[in-house]
Symmetry: none
Subunit: 222 residues, 4 copies
């Protein structure tokens, strides 16, 4: 992501040259659109708004995308891609269930501070037509299953205290998802701060043992 930024420093510049990579311009459109969708919502963002911010005309957008919804879908897909990447890494590399959950919280919180990541959770699925909507829904369900899986692993390996995985997952995911509603890129809190503190705050309630209390629960299972 930071590298992308260096490739196309500003979406506005991407359309300065007539001859330029189509991919670069598509990306510029998506970045601008995502920004606007988050600022004003998809419905209130007109194709003109997107075009104006890119200093091009409305129909020029149709060279890169078939219609408005396609832009929206692509925003979702890019965001989903970010999360997917993260999830795979975690599943592969981490150790105990607790560590996976911690890693999940950390990475996911970070993604929720990136525009495309925010799109996934903040934009309204109702703006998607049937096909794309189910695609997105399925993906969200998948994320949820993943998180519950990590929690269950933790319970099984003793790193997480027994609890209702469904509710616990809802609580953790909710806290994380909500980040995309209040986070401001230029705000006081950096994405790393948020990620770190959330990881700590949220896992505390899950850690087995923590001094005396948890210990006894574990011993009860013995």
């Amino acid at each position: 992501m930071p590298k992308d930024a260096s490739v196309s420093p500003s979406p506005r510049k991407a359309f300065a040259d007539r001859r330029r990579d189509v991919a670069t311009k598509r990306e510029a459109v998506l970045k601008t659109a995502a920004q606007l969708f988050l600022e004003k919502s998809y419905g209130r963002t007109s194709m003109n708004d997107v075009a104006d911010r890119l200093n091009i005309t409305k129909p020029a957008l149709y060279h890169y995308f078939d219609n408005k919804e396609d832009i929206l879908i692509e925003c979702y897909r890019l965001g989903v891609g970010l999360i997917e990447e993260t999830l795979n890494e975690i599943a592969d590399h981490c150790g105990t269930g607790l560590q996976k959950v911690e890693a999940f919280i950390y990475s996911y919180a970070t993604v929720m501070t990136l525009n495309f990541g925010r799109c996934v959770m903040r934009l309204d699925e109702g703006d998607l037509t049937s096909g794309a909507r189910t695609e997105v829904r399925n993906y969200k369900r998948k994320i949820d299953r993943r998180l519950r899986g990590f929690i269950q692993e933790g319970i099984d390996d003793g790193s997480i205290a027994p609890c209702d995985t469904k509710i616990a997952a809802f609580a953790i995911a909710g806290a994380l998802n909500w980040i995309c509603m209040w986070y401001e890129p230029d705000g006081a809190l950096s994405s790393e701060e948020i990620a770190a503190q959330f990881a700590r705050t949220l896992t505390q309630g899950l850690v087995a043992g923590k001094r005396g209390g948890r210990l006894r629960i574990v011993s009860k299972q013995e």
Copy 2:
């Protein structure tokens, strides 16, 4: 809310009788509108949609509300009222900071399963014009301050372990607010279950020295 229901059993019936309290009809409009706003979003809900579901004509709506936004604002206000009520009760009646936070979680989770409550957090502030938007924002900020206050109280009275109140409040509020995104009135989880489980799950991470707390739970389960 249950009492409201007894007053106006169904929004549709409110317009059945010619002679009927204006307030009753206004309320019927609001209930129906809130429902639709949550189902399809404010933007995709047309005045016709609202009128159709109430079996009245579109301009009839304009007898009870000046314009579409007024309906939206009123939905926000009713939801805010529900939360406000809750907050005052908690501040007055509860004991330690931890108990206040627990009570907050419990009550707030419940409100997030009621339509007007969901409106407050789920509807898009961007649909409000400047004046009303700041009103809503101020109110949300107030809630946040209240929650942080409870946490701080808990830290001060030793019932909650020291932490960054801002982040902690964001995490708790996020988890709770997100309820309004996935909760379904006819779903598997009842509002009480959710409230109870969230209260437990979220506070665990905040309890100071979890020894005692857990101990009691454990011993109770024994």
Copy 3:
């Protein structure tokens, strides 16, 4: 049709009064639209064109029809209705196959001078979406079958000389359909003249037993 005209003397007047039969206004829209479709083709007729000629605004049209194609479909249907009426009468009342064909030519030629009738054959099926297109096509096929049936009856009862019914029907129907391409309501030829002359001209080639006839002409030329 003449009675309709007396009910709504001019499409423009139909919208003069705000309170007026919806059916009357729908009809006014259809008349005006049919006229324009024939003048400029469906594609080049904008909803604005229709509205302007009726002295109303474009969106007002959407009170009476869901979309542009609906207007087109209705024009087709009205035209089809005219032909259907005619066909049924003929099948019921006429005598020999030849008489039926004559009656068909007469009536059909008349219908082809009426705007809605012209629409059926002159407007481009390609402007219809799939469903309506097959509806229209099926109807046209039905007309063709009917005509071929009449011809076959004539061959069977001896009133028409044996011939390829398919080709004969194509020729007759072609001549008749083409009327809608050149006929002008205010032109030199009245619809009755055309109908009468076509009936005579086209049937002559079908009359059985040309033997004697030829002989005598030849003898006349001698």
Copy 4:
């Protein structure tokens, strides 16, 4: 026409070689365009459609034609050329009026099965701007005059029974023109079959004599 085909076997191939006659490419464009105009109508055929089917880019078309209408006009002209050729041959070579009409029907029917010929009668004059439109209209009028002339010749030389030449011409021309609406190159009927059968079917009605019927008319005119 068959010879043209041998010159440029397929429009797509015409652009395969870089070096190729401009005329060849123009012709390839016209053939493809005519095809598309007949398939989908001029209005629904975009320059992109034409370019795509030729596997070239849209602006390339503008090297061969100034604008879309020019393509259309040229299609008309080629079709008109086919008819003109035919008409001249007939006027020069044939004998009696009846024979000329028969030849006309035969040739004209054939032309109506060729794409450029179909264009003349099937495409919408309304798509032409003023100048070209009058050109086409004048030409159509000329054809009509020619046909009426043949009929009149027949009446004068006794080969055709007296009748209203105007109406008769309309009937014959209509039947023939309509061929372009239903004819399908790959259909069951070959162009020769159609031509032959139409020549027979349509002239039968014109032949002088046939029993009493004509006699009486003749005698009435006496």
